[in-house]
Symmetry: D3
Subunit: 242 residues, 6 copies
Amino acid sequence: MRILYVRPVANSREAREMEAILRRAARKDTAVSVTSLPPDRPRHLEYHAYEAIAVADIVRIVRASRDHHDAVVLGGFYDMGLRAAREISGSAIVTAPCESSTAIARALGQRFSILVGRRKWIPKMTDLVRGYGHGNAMASMRAIGLGVEAIRAEPELAHARLRDEARRAIEDDGAEVVILGCTAKYGFHEELTRELGAPVIDSMIAALKYAEMLAGTWSPSRLGGSEPPPEEEIASWGLFRP
Amino acid sequence: MRILYVRPVANSREAREMEAILRRAARKDTAVSVTSLPPDRPRHLEYHAYEAIAVADIVRIVRASRDHHDAVVLGGFYDMGLRAAREISGSAIVTAPCESSTAIARALGQRFSILVGRRKWIPKMTDLVRGYGHGNAMASMRAIGLGVEAIRAEPELAHARLRDEARRAIEDDGAEVVILGCTAKYGFHEELTRELGAPVIDSMIAALKYAEMLAGTWSPSRLGGSEPPPEEEIASWGLFRP
Amino acid sequence: MRILYVRPVANSREAREMEAILRRAARKDTAVSVTSLPPDRPRHLEYHAYEAIAVADIVRIVRASRDHHDAVVLGGFYDMGLRAAREISGSAIVTAPCESSTAIARALGQRFSILVGRRKWIPKMTDLVRGYGHGNAMASMRAIGLGVEAIRAEPELAHARLRDEARRAIEDDGAEVVILGCTAKYGFHEELTRELGAPVIDSMIAALKYAEMLAGTWSPSRLGGSEPPPEEEIASWGLFRP
Amino acid sequence: MRILYVRPVANSREAREMEAILRRAARKDTAVSVTSLPPDRPRHLEYHAYEAIAVADIVRIVRASRDHHDAVVLGGFYDMGLRAAREISGSAIVTAPCESSTAIARALGQRFSILVGRRKWIPKMTDLVRGYGHGNAMASMRAIGLGVEAIRAEPELAHARLRDEARRAIEDDGAEVVILGCTAKYGFHEELTRELGAPVIDSMIAALKYAEMLAGTWSPSRLGGSEPPPEEEIASWGLFRP
Amino acid sequence: MRILYVRPVANSREAREMEAILRRAARKDTAVSVTSLPPDRPRHLEYHAYEAIAVADIVRIVRASRDHHDAVVLGGFYDMGLRAAREISGSAIVTAPCESSTAIARALGQRFSILVGRRKWIPKMTDLVRGYGHGNAMASMRAIGLGVEAIRAEPELAHARLRDEARRAIEDDGAEVVILGCTAKYGFHEELTRELGAPVIDSMIAALKYAEMLAGTWSPSRLGGSEPPPEEEIASWGLFRP
Amino acid sequence: MRILYVRPVANSREAREMEAILRRAARKDTAVSVTSLPPDRPRHLEYHAYEAIAVADIVRIVRASRDHHDAVVLGGFYDMGLRAAREISGSAIVTAPCESSTAIARALGQRFSILVGRRKWIPKMTDLVRGYGHGNAMASMRAIGLGVEAIRAEPELAHARLRDEARRAIEDDGAEVVILGCTAKYGFHEELTRELGAPVIDSMIAALKYAEMLAGTWSPSRLGGSEPPPEEEIASWGLFRP
């Protein structure tokens, strides 16, 4: 199975680390490759305006790669562009972190909490979780008070805060499962799983495993709201012309 | 009051007609101008993938024009890019058709129906209306079975079908107010209002009036989820460099 | 545009102050007048039983004034009598504070909080906000622990507590916009807006601006649940006989 | 146990029939009396404006009779004035038809339908049922196309239509229980129960039985939102002065 | 009226105390008997797996006793087996504590809180309350940190904690009514009612009174989802063979 | 990976066919075995009372087999016993058809419909889907008017009706994905997928693939509501003694 992971940010050395994480998590018969956006794109998607800039690239990448992959995994916990990418993915499956990790969390326990970077992210992400139908199963969403750049700059601080907030989510909010809604280093979710004695879901891995599950057995619907744009229109308007 | 209306599609002769409609609906002290996207952009946004292509332009336009306008009105009934545009609009108000027209409909009657072009549009638009909190006030969403191009090509057919579906919404679904979720010719909503004896809301005009209401009295929040991206970051990454 | 503001309480010297506040907030071409209830009516509506006593007056006033006004604004944050007043308002628009201010708050930010007087008010007001569809957008409702009389008697104490609770709503609850669900002195919301760096909505002004927006462009529906009582029945029963 | 049934309309000969129906349904140790509003009040409450006129009377009656009754049952399927009446009822229980009959219906089957007079009633009544938390258990609300006066004038026609709509509710909408949301003659609900082979709930009887259940064992809360207005304030304002 | 109370746990000396409590709460013309499960069954139902073991017994008891009773009351706050017991109860009414006590609480005040034993119980019980439609009326669910065995072993400690949590529910969470979702000694809810000045509902008594209300007047639906299994099938499969 | 599929009905020759279907759908490295209940148990679970009889067996099987399997898949579209089985499964994953197939359907399209046997099943199943958070994504639930025995007796008739209702779900209700909520013959869902041009999900296969996805990467939570019963208690009460 060939899976493409789309990092929705400008290329950087983190791409490599992500690839290693995903390959380790993938099944043996899965070939994962990672792609990033052009260098003049945002380096993180902490702001809605940055997402708006990145989303056309996501759609272009999905369309260009759909014939060569069984599934495309979109990175970035906001699942930005998911509906659009699914529309245009042909027979390739498309998955994304928030949808996948919340569905998985519900199967591992009765209440989950999501840890995010800054409070800035909470309203949109909460709306997203509610839109997926999981508002009642979410015990809480907690911010560690660090943006993406800060997390990269001080990973130990980030991990310490993730640990703290995860504990509070369990003890104060009744979480039985914890979802990491922001990046952490290779293997951190396993470390935290052991420490807390509770499942900790790395949302990127969740999206990968969800893609593996779906791609082998089902294809996307192309009816109703899932109807793709007509190829002639795309061609005559030159929408994806390089 | 200076209001910019952003047509989220490639420039075309419809821009003129839209400008005429909006100017007629605006207050005397409102100056409305209309802008469109570059010519290689989609000519309609019937597909989620097309929206994804257009949304970066919307954000760019809002950012570029925010200092010269009191409000920006986004066209296109899906309200695409609204959250992102609001984030980056500085002190300018941003409004959009679906949010504005559903809020207004609730103040004119207890149940409303929305008429859209094709069934393709229904799932996403329904999710949008529910997200705004109006799922219980929506009597129905009905499609006239015509896409944007078909509506432009055969306006009389489109109007006939809008009439039919509006009547069914009122008689079968219990609608007290009808929202036009797709374009119609200049003055059509007034004609239909008279015929049906029920308020018919042109969603573009709703967004314009909503903008006029807000812009004179309030400014957008810049806290929490409404925090804008830092200007230094935008500059150093060159995100909006022309 | 002629707008009537109905204070749903016995006449008092506060009527004058309210008139001044509203006139300042109104557009130049709007003529606002304020009316109150007869002197033997409740002086505030802190109790549901008081509202029940006042609501027939509201309906009578709306019916009597509908032909001479483009819109009627109902005072009192519970929006009492709104459905009934709308039914009988003829072609006049009717608006009310809670509906208007919550709709406006959603357009200014992603989460709002409402400040009320006493905890007594919270259950009914929360049900009202949910009924309007904004339960998910409400970050919190906070009481300042002062009834209407206490607020009038000690305005400085009331303002200090509004300040405190507004800050907590922003810092602890994630509010991006604050709605004043109880009376404050002339200009206080602007003062608080500056202090907090966040939009603070005076709910009476919100209802006024909402009325201005609607009245110029739309008329109420008279279909379905918005069908008015037959004039012959009203006449033969003598319901509104003076 | 002494129970007062408040007909929220002007006195008429129907009061007698109602009394007979209620007495037959009451337990042996229950004494039911029926009171109506003054003669210049509406004769039915088909319009929201009529309710607004009646609701102050309801509150006055509840307050005046609370010391002499264990429970007060409010008539009229909209449950108008319920919150206010409960606030001011002292230690007397207050019940109302819609709340009682929907709660009972859920205990008799998994889905219920409500039959009402005219389509006019549907939006408000639907909002009420949702507010009570039973939106998901309601299979449908169906109107028989007859107002209160027409039902009184042509009871046989009304019964025929109730029969038809009840059948459709069961066969088309999946109702397992039917609630009569409008008046019918003495014993009709039992007749219909036999014909349909399904429980048919007369909503007035439901409110009576609910009152009997509650009044013997519990008293209303007087905390939080259920705090009553202070007697000194009522006295000094002369609110209930005869 | 003959009512059977089914303790969904292995027989024990608590059965006697429960019988005394229920007889005192019942009407004079109600004959209450209590039955328990066989001795090798769980002694409490704190775990979902224990419930699963007990539920077949509940169904067997309901089926066996339905012809000799007007109503069956299921014990255990989770209402386990309620849907199944109702399906097979013939013309006997079936009630259960959580459904009954939440419905009653809503009629006594605008917000209620539920006190339970351990945090373990919260997710399932919360889902149950939401399923009944009362999620919005529930101010909070609070655990006293004691399991069933601990409550039995140290009743004074349990009562002290129930007192504390009830007070917090009222003061911090806005509860107007308190529901005891776990067993307490004879008469404790009345004691607590007096202390708190708020209605405290013993959920078993609530289920009993609900049964008395329903059984005299209505019978369960046997349509749609309430259709019972065919007797021939039960006989030929030998499902309830002793 | 070792996966146990629990048929929640008395053993029969259908077990074999199910095993064949599951083995074909499983990954190469998955070993699937199928177990059924003792012969005196119900042969189908069309009634809630039958489920109540079967659920203790499910829990016993899960407990007995948890150490020898990576995952247990519960059959029967009602997901009966899922919460209890998950509680007691140790480190084994437990999945069930309705939860798995609705989650998967949402990833393949924006709206799904579920086809069930008889109308009897609709209320409970609808409540289940809503409980999982997918009420808004469900376009409809449609019954083919055949019970389990009838489907087995006349498979061709069943398939014809499934075809018809699937088509109606797509054309009339807006379904983009169809879930088979009742058994069909080997390979039928693939046949129907081709015919309809839309994904058709066999819910048993969905539960299997969900189990494969989860079992390799995560373990169930054992905190909060997912805390298992203490082994000493189980032993001392003799709950699972053979």
